[in-house]
């Protein structure tokens, strides 16, 4: 019998949710005195990286309890039409997330993030890890980790973004939010204006639904439907994720990352049923703030390579690529309606995703199956923790043959806030 390489945390998930619900019930019943609730300080050194996003959040600390809690919520309304056909106006609450952090002992911390999606239709533990600091350059992390591929997957909190929709390539090539059970290590070194960091993890990973799904294209998010990945590996081969990032205080942060592993079940009961087929993703990310204009620029680009059998259908691409660039320009920063240092921003996102890079065997012509979108928007931040945003979105989606693109356009209005 083949023994799989597996991380088992099945009971921890349900136990954890129960404890958390009890904790919140207790908090409400106890009629908490809000004056005793303090907000923990965020890292303001400007040396925080994308990898620090899980901790760079506002937490509330209750008295002397060793636990800090926090969360964020997003809600919006949208009105879209595709090729002139609209489903009308709809209201969404795509997610509400709760985080709990606890310092167990000096240099031993636990942090978790639980997400309630679409009004509670789905409840996911997105992050639940124990961090053990042995040295600033060498920390251990284990539990449910967010694979550090690109920047968005780790730094995805709604209140940090001026756009209601998440970037297409970051959610459909990189299947953000993509987290798995695993362990690894990370470290950080800072000197003067520079900070360098690295991360590396072994975890459970993808399965063969990435090339067998109802999207009719290679679709890495299909593996997110497999909740079994929190209990056992699909094929016994760990997914490896590694990232390194370098930040200069005055220039910006640049990250390079890789995630790769075997996605198919190549043996069953010790019998070889297929060759090992790999999926590998490479990502680059960069963000900066232009010094005088205070323009914020954030970009991410990803390439995916998938070993699709030659005898399968070219409908499922063996290469994908895509990325986005966000430009956010503050145009007003002053007190508004009593909110100090409120900010009004203009924002613009451009994005492109090609799900099938290659040429048809039959014609040697380009395979399309791509999406392009632009999103101009305006956002108002009464504080850095809350954003009201209005976006106009225009999407061109071209089918595999390159026929005239289907056009979708619409307006969205919503908010996102930490609490």
């Amino acid at each position: 019998m083949h023994k799989t390489f597996t991380f088992n945390y099945p009971k921890m998930k349900s136990l954890y949710i129960t404890v958390l619900i009890l904790f919140f019930n207790f908090s409400v019943l106890a009629q908490v005195d809000s004056t005793k609730v303090v907000t923990t300080q965020k890292d303001t050194t400007k040396l925080a990286l994308n990898m620090d996003a899980v901790y760079a959040r506002p937490f509330l600390k209750l008295g002397k309890l060793p636990i800090s809690i926090g969360g964020y919520v997003e809600a919006n309304t949208s009105y879209f039409a595709t090729d002139g056909v609209t489903e009308g106006m709809s209201f969404q609450m795509p997610r509400m997330t709760l985080f709990v952090s606890s310092t167990i002992r000096n240099r031993i911390k636990f942090l978790s993030e639980i997400e309630f999606e679409e009004g509670g239709k789905e409840i996911n533990i997105e992050f639940a890890s124990l961090d053990v600091e042995l040295h600033p350059l060498f920390n251990l992390r284990g539990g449910i980790i967010m694979n550090p591929i690109g920047s968005f997957n780790q730094n995805h909190d709604g209140p940090k973004w001026e756009f209601i929709d998440r970037p297409i390539s970051s959610t459909t090539i990189i299947p953000s939010t993509w987290s798995n059970v695993g362990f690894g290590f990370f470290g950080k070194y800072a000197k003067n204006n520079l900070v360098w960091a690295y991360e590396g993890y072994f975890s459970n990973g993808f399965d063969d639904t990435i090339i067998s799904n109802t999207e009719n294209r290679t679709w890495l998010p299909a593996s997110k439907e497999n909740k079994e990945r929190f209990e056992e590996s699909f094929n016994g081969v760990p997914l490896i994720t590694a990232k390194t990032a370098l930040k200069h205080r005055k220039i910006g942060e640049f990250g390079i990352s890789w995630m790769g592993g075997v996605y198919n079940k190549f043996q069953e009961d010790g019998i070889q049923i297929d060759k090992k087929r790999r999926v590998d993703l490479f990502a680059l990310d960069f963000n900066t703030v232009l010094p005088k204009l205070k323009t914020y620029i954030n970009t991410e680009w990803v390439w995916a390579y998938i070993d699709v059998p030659d005898t399968y259908t070219q409908q499922f691409g063996s290469k994908q690529k895509g990325g986005f660039i966000d430009i956010v320009q503050p145009i007003l920063k002053r007190d508004v309606l009593g909110w100090q240092n409120s900010t009004l921003n203009l924002a613009f996102r451009m994005e492109y995703t090609d799900y099938n890079v290659g040429t048809f065997k039959e014609t040697n012509e380009n395979i399309h199956d791509d999406v392009m979108a632009i999103t101009p928007g305006i956002s108002f931040r009464p504080s850095s923790q809350t954003v009201f945003r209005m976006n106009y979105r225009y999407i061109w989606e071209t089918d595999i043959f390159g026929n005239d693109p289907s056009k979708t356009a619409g307006i969205q209005f919503g908010f996102s806030t930490y609490f």
């Binding site: 063969d208 009719n216 198919n264 297929d274 059998p309 007190d335 399309h368 026929n403």
Partner: protein, 400 residues
């Protein structure tokens, strides 16, 4: 004071956003005559619901390993081959093999008639067996199929001239097909020695839309149904992978898809091209006008429509003889393809033409010049036209 101004500004921004007509900044629907999908006019509410059900099954349902795809297949969904209900692309061209005459297919034990050229991981796709001839078939548009389905066999036979009694060099014969067990003849079908006239497919090998649909599920996607329960890989009967309800909804959808609408019909050059089309005797096979009898779907009853086909087989000469056939057709015989919607073919073929039965013609002119056999005199007459006349003729064909 400042706060009041900001409040007014915010309220005004929200107000303007709300009041602005959303339609002004959203996408426009393409003109009805520029697309092939959409229902025939006049369907009842219940018919429209069934149309929508079939629309979802046809255009949205993608089969996977879990839902029965393959293990051998050509495509994963209906829409993969018929984007926007239009013609297919060489990527989705299917291959059939093994039959050379009316005695039947001699390679059925080796996977004939259709080559499943793709396979799930771990399986090997089929290969054409040694000694078998084959032909490639480009997926057709689904346009107006219900109108063709409503015609009577007597109407089709009225245009047949197997012995060329009128001496015009054009014969026209029906393809007589042995029906599958699930075929239920309607009042307008005529049985001849246990066979019925085929209407659909490049060789007119499918008698009705149920026949066509069931075969497509089974042969194109490896999906079994209670109508056709044999798995193409194992050759064994297995549980249905698609329900009768879904199959019937797809058939209803195909029956009630609208006929394509003409474009530039009043253009003088198009009208001149139409006259040339008739003068060159193209219309002898590409019969422009038909009228349906009474149908169980009121929207299809007693309607005059313009498919530009006679639904009969014609010898197209050696150039288009691939050495493969179906039913009683000769290997050089092909069913006259309906020309309606041909001007929109590019919209589903990636902005270019792949015409004739296997997509070998890259333009309408190339398609005309590849005609032979019974169409030889029409082709020769076309070659005698001036370049201006040729342009008018092509412009007319593109208006269909």
């Amino acid at each position: 004071m400042k706060n009041k101004a900001y409040l007014i500004l915010i309220v005004m921004t929200l107000g303007i956003s709300t009041l602005t007509s959303c339609e002004d900044i959203l996408t426009d629907a393409p003109a009805d005559e520029e697309i092939l999908d959409g229902p025939v006019e006049g369907l009842t509410s219940s018919e429209m619901l069934e149309f929508l059900e079939g629309d979802v099954a046809f255009n949205e349902e993608v089969f996977t390993t879990e839902t029965g795809l393959g293990p051998l297949f050509v495509s994963t969904s209906c829409v993969s081959c018929h984007a926007g209900d239009g013609k297919g692309h060489p990527f989705t061209t299917l291959t059939r093999f093994g039959q050379t005459d009316a005695t039947g297919n001699q390679f059925m034990h080796l996977g004939a008639p259709q080559l499943q050229n793709r396979a799930l991981p771990g399986y090997l796709p089929e290969q054409i067996p040694a000694g078998a001839t084959s032909a490639k078939f480009m997926p057709p548009a689904n346009t107006g199929l219900g109108f063709l389905a409503a015609l009577t066999d007597a109407q089709i036979l009225a245009n047949a001239d197997p012995n060329d009694n009128n001496g015009d060099g054009i014969s026209g014969v029906p393809n007589y097909i042995t029906p599958p067990a699930f075929f239920l003849p309607k009042w307008f079908h005529q049985e001849i020695n246990g066979k019925y006239i085929g209407r659909y497919g490049k060789k007119a090998a499918a008698i009705d839309l149920l026949h066509q649909t069931v075969n497509a599920y089974n042969q194109d996607m490896g999906i079994t149904s209670s109508f056709s329960p044999i798995d193409t890989y194992s050759g064994l009967e297995i549980d249905p992978e698609v329900s009768n309800k879904t199959v019937n909804s797809v058939v209803f959808y195909l029956r009630t898809l609208k006929a394509p609408k003409r474009r530039n019909q009043n253009d003088a050059e198009v009208q001149a091209g139409e006259a040339l089309f008739s003068n060159l005797k193209c219309a002898e096979c590409h019969k422009p006008q038909w009228t349906t009898p009474n149908s169980d779907i009121a929207s299809l009853s007693n309607k005059t429509f313009y498919p530009y086909t006679d639904l009969l087989l014609h010898d197209m000469g050696s150039g288009l003889n691939d050495g493969y056939t179906e039913g009683t057709a000769l290997t050089s015989e092909w069913r006259t393809p309906p020309l309606w919607g041909i001007g929109l073919a590019k919209k589903s073929q990636g902005g270019q033409y792949f015409l004739l039965h296997d997509g070998r013609a890259r333009s309408i002119e190339e398609a005309i010049l590849m005609h032979g056999g019974e169409a030889n005199s029409s082709k020769n007459a076309y070659q005698q036209l001036t370049s201006g006349e040729k342009q008018k003729l092509i412009k007319f064909i593109e208006s269909l």
